[in-house]
Symmetry: C2
Subunit: 548 residues, 2 copies
């Protein structure tokens, strides 16, 4: 028997309507280069998103059409989020920092009809244009004057498109499973794959992310989207924060430490999201300038593991709580968050941090598990590690145009390798493609990297497996030293002694000037494996492992 | 085009599974008369709910069957919530405080197959049995020994039912729109009507109620269900609090001020829900005993309007935040909550209280409006008042077995009359059945009651419209004086002077010993109208109004 409750669909247009109705004058701030901040509010967002929707309708855009953005965080990008999805079309956020070939691949794969681009990407667009036949129009996110001044006078502009359109619209009552957004993965382990979000998944994710034990988003908050709106939809914040009535702040291009501190202080930011690199820059600026945040009280850090020292500095020195989040483009992305439990109150701050550095506990709504090679569930004992699997209403079922990626058992295999402890804290030990398989056992590349980076003279380190005739693979450390350091390979290896099992000992260390990073700031181990697959391991190192 | 996200249904069994997985050892405390507190945890709740589900399956209970409870708040009642709904049957919570004829009407209307009852209701059950032919078994919520000791040795017991059943079950993956619970309205304005909740509505309501700007429920909380589990499912807390991993406390029968204070202090309660009467008793106890709550930090008050003085005492004297909520059985029930906004920080505490005494702003997910007699939307100016309407995924579409109650326009008409101000605060000015229609205009009975109750010698007051040959209806005050008071009708009417428009002036005042209340503690104006419909209004009073 079915219940007798209303079948109101969960739609993004309902989020926008709620914000415009309940919080019409709450501000939306966008930092624009060399100009005063652009300030609008939720009533304004509703008006202009409606204009955009009307413009798209009259331009013949149909439900299901993919419209791409090549843009940084700002009010026009937010209007695109709501205006496009509101009429049942798909807002496809493209990462402009990817290699040109990847962008071309993505736009062609998505068959985008329109591309909206920031003026800053005009050169990129000119390169892309001849290679993307599905795109009917490239529209620059500017007014006509601005566009001309930037040498983009030949392009149609966003402001011309909106001009004269009605400022309101009856948003269609779509099926809540209608696609609303498309975002490709970061391309860290191979070609990016398309994740097609639905209105339902985005609304449910907004509820979950805002909960007190997740990000605790409230109308008392001022939320800065530091994470780009093309990286897993800035982690869902452009949906979640308006639903809760938070004031919004979009920093635009500049996310260096000083720029962040400025905008946070100027607008009273209380909450922000971003990858560890961004926060490293932020604390370095605070330290060198001798200043402190006065309104920021918590940050959501994820994308790659949050270093313990960063956590410590933010929390202990600056009083900013770190919410360590794990997620993927495929998980909308908030899936697990690492926070301490009531029972940890009596622990030392170091012991509490032992929990926080893990990737965290599943938020309400999703379920996680770990599996061995034969797909058996592994124990949650903090030791057993295996393939991390996840399911829930904001987890991808399959990739766009890859129906074969759907699994019959209803679980999503993340490609991460993890442990889960007795308290439910999940810890990523590796990516399944990065794990080093030595003599039938697994060595965690991440653990070896973290140990290397704990050495005071190491700035960054990557550990990859290189082929070995007897042991299949053996670990190789590739590291960047602090400027002026003369640390030797032997010294670094000695630093590992006693900290790991003997057979985990890396076989060699190479020092380099720089490590390759992907478009969302992640280490590109694929590149490193290409470069070093023929690296000959010195027998001396192997001797040290006791395996020779 | 549909998105490619998982179609994981929103189910109550997922809440239970999440709680058992993520918070297995978080406590569930039930106070039992004359015994030490019963303490279990979420792992235990899962085990016993599974046993119940297995028992129901083997007893031939089918999806859609209605199984009733006549029970106070306690762990067995919670097991019934999850065990019954988990297999797709419907947990029908019956209010044992209703008149016998109403209970008989409800059980027969619902066609309940089983009734689970607390031993305390054994006499009631004996009265009901011959009148409820659909009920196949009356099962007492006790073990065999307890049942015998209470003279219920002839009844099957809940503990016998569970004994020997497997402690785990594969919960079926139901359609999320499957009915999970049935609750009849309080019967304040007529016969109770059945609201048939769905898994989807209950889960979405849990998300919304837990949000930081609603009840802010977290794993750091200890939540007491003070509101009975048969009154709009204790306001959804038995679903919401386990989803968030809060510790639970169920006070059982005793909700007098002293008992509440004891159990709050014994178990560190931080949050509790209840009608104003309960909190009046609570603060009276605190005041007379000269004690203070040490862990309680907020209370959810609704069901009828929260008096300003109660709010003030709780907040200013005892540091307990009041969350004033408006809702109905038909709205799951959390619909609006009254809290101050960031912009009110600079106001005086009295000005802030002016917001809090209103019934509040719509929580994310529901939309409210007010309509005039011709169904036109009225302005949100804090002055215009009309029929309050609401819609959203946890609002009833129609009543059980009353398909004619469904409206084509998708809105639910609440039967309440309200204003909505520029800031979105809704204020109930009356029930549409209680509003006094005088000369084509409306007089708010609630406003006249509040004014009477602001008089220091008045304990409680009701205002009803009595028929009038010329003006249709005129207001009559029926009031209870403080013990020993000799306040006169004329004095009370004089107290109104200057506080209301002249034509609102009540025509007469009657003093009585007691006012009639319904089963959830609300004033029964239906009863009063029956009693006083022939009351002759003195012409002297009418003279005072300027209308004679
Ligand atoms: N807190 C975290 N700690 C460690 N790793 C994390 C954390 N958060 C995210 N990650 C990593 O990021 C991945 C998700 O990133 P994203 O969706 O941006 O694309 P990607 O996996 O890097 O790229 P691709 O899937 O195209 O190879 C996760 O699978 C995980 O490996
Ligand atoms: N905070 C509040 N302030 C004023 N009135 C409230 C408040 N909360 C609830 N109410 C009243 O309670 C009503 C809902 O109560 P409930 O569902 O328990 O049944 P009822 O309306 O009293 O009974 P019935 O519908 O059977 O006549 C609302 O319609 C409203 O009139
Ligand atoms: Mg990935
Ligand atoms: Mg009612």
């Amino acid at each position: 028997m079915l219940g007798l409750m209303m079948q109101t669909p969960l739609l993004l247009s309902s989020i926008l309507s709620h914000a415009a109705r309940s919080f019409p004058d709450v501000e939306i701030v966008s930092r624009v280069p060399d100009r005063p901040d652009h300030i609008t509010n939720y009533a304004g967002l509703m008006r202009r998103s409606s204009q955009l929707a009307n413009a798209l309708n009259s331009a013949g855009i149909k439900p299901g059409d993919r419209l791409a953005t090549l843009a940084m965080n700002g009010y026009r990008h937010l209007e695109l989020y709501y205006g496009i999805s509101g009429i049942g079309a798909v807002c496809h956020t493209v990462n402009p920092r990817l290699f040109v070939e990847q962008i071309v691949y993505i736009i062609n794969h998505a068959e985008d009809r329109l591309v909206f681009f920031d003026l800053g990407f005009i050169e990129l667009v000119k390169t892309l244009m001849p290679k993307c036949p599905s795109v009917e129009r490239w529209i620059c996110l500017a007014g006509a004057g601005e566009a001309r001044a930037a040498g983009a006078g030949d392009f149609p502009t966003y402001e011309d498109m909106l001009a004269g359109q009605a400022q309101s619209i009856d948003w269609p009552q779509l099926d809540e499973n209608t696609a609303c957004g498309l975002c490709y993965t970061s391309g860290t382990t191979g070609n990016p794959k398309g994740v097609l979000y639905a209105h339902r998944s985005a609304v449910l994710h907004s509820f979950a992310a805002a909960l007190p034990d997740a990000c605790r988003i409230s109308l008392n908050d001022t939320v800065a989207f530091v994470s780009p709106m093309f990286h897993a939809m800035s982690w869902g914040m452009p949906y979640c924060a308006p639903a809760m009535g938070a004031k919004l702040v979009m920093p635009g291009q500049k996310v260096d430490g000083e720029s962040l501190h400025r905008i946070f202080e100027d607008h009273g930011v209380t909450f922000a999201n971003g990858v560890p690199t961004v926060w490293l820059g932020y604390v370095q600026y605070l330290q060198s300038a001798g200043v402190r945040p006065t309104t920021l009280n918590r940050v959501l850090i994820g994308g790659t593991a949050c270093p313990r020292s960063l956590m410590q500095t933010l929390q202990d020195d600056f009083g900013v709580e770190v919410l360590h989040v794990w997620g993927m483009t495929e998980t909308s992305p908030v899936a697990t968050i690492s926070k301490v439990l009531p029972r940890h109150r009596s622990l030392s701050s170091e012991q509490r941090r032992n929990r926080q550095v893990k990737q965290g506990r599943a938020v309400f709504g999703v379920e996680i598990g770990i599996r061995d090679g034969d797909n058996n569930e592994l124990p949650h004992d903090g030791k057993a590690f295996g393939d991390l699997v996840i399911r829930g209403p904001w987890i991808a079922r399959s990739y766009y145009k890859m129906p074969e990626s759907e699994r019959a058992d209803g679980w999503f295999f993340t490609g991460d390798v993890a442990t889960i402890d007795e308290e439910g804290y999940m810890q990523i030990t590796d990516r399944s493609k990065d794990v080093i398989k030595s003599g039938g056992e697994w060595i965690s590349s991440i653990e070896l990297e973290n140990l290397a980076m704990a050495h005071p003279e190491i700035v960054e380190a990557a550990v990859i497996g290189v082929p070995h005739p007897k042991w299949d693979e053996r670990p190789l450390v590739i590291a960047v030293r602090r400027k002026g350091s003369s640390l030797t390979a032997a010294e670094l290896l000695a630093f590992y002694e006693g900290k790991i099992a003997k057979w985990w000992m890396p076989d060699d260390v190479l020092f380099v000037e720089e490590l390759p990073h992907g478009a969302t700031g992640k280490l590109l181990k694929t590149k490193l494996r290409e470069l070093y697959e023929d690296h000959a391991l010195p027998s001396v190192a192997l001797a040290r492992t006791g395996l020779a």
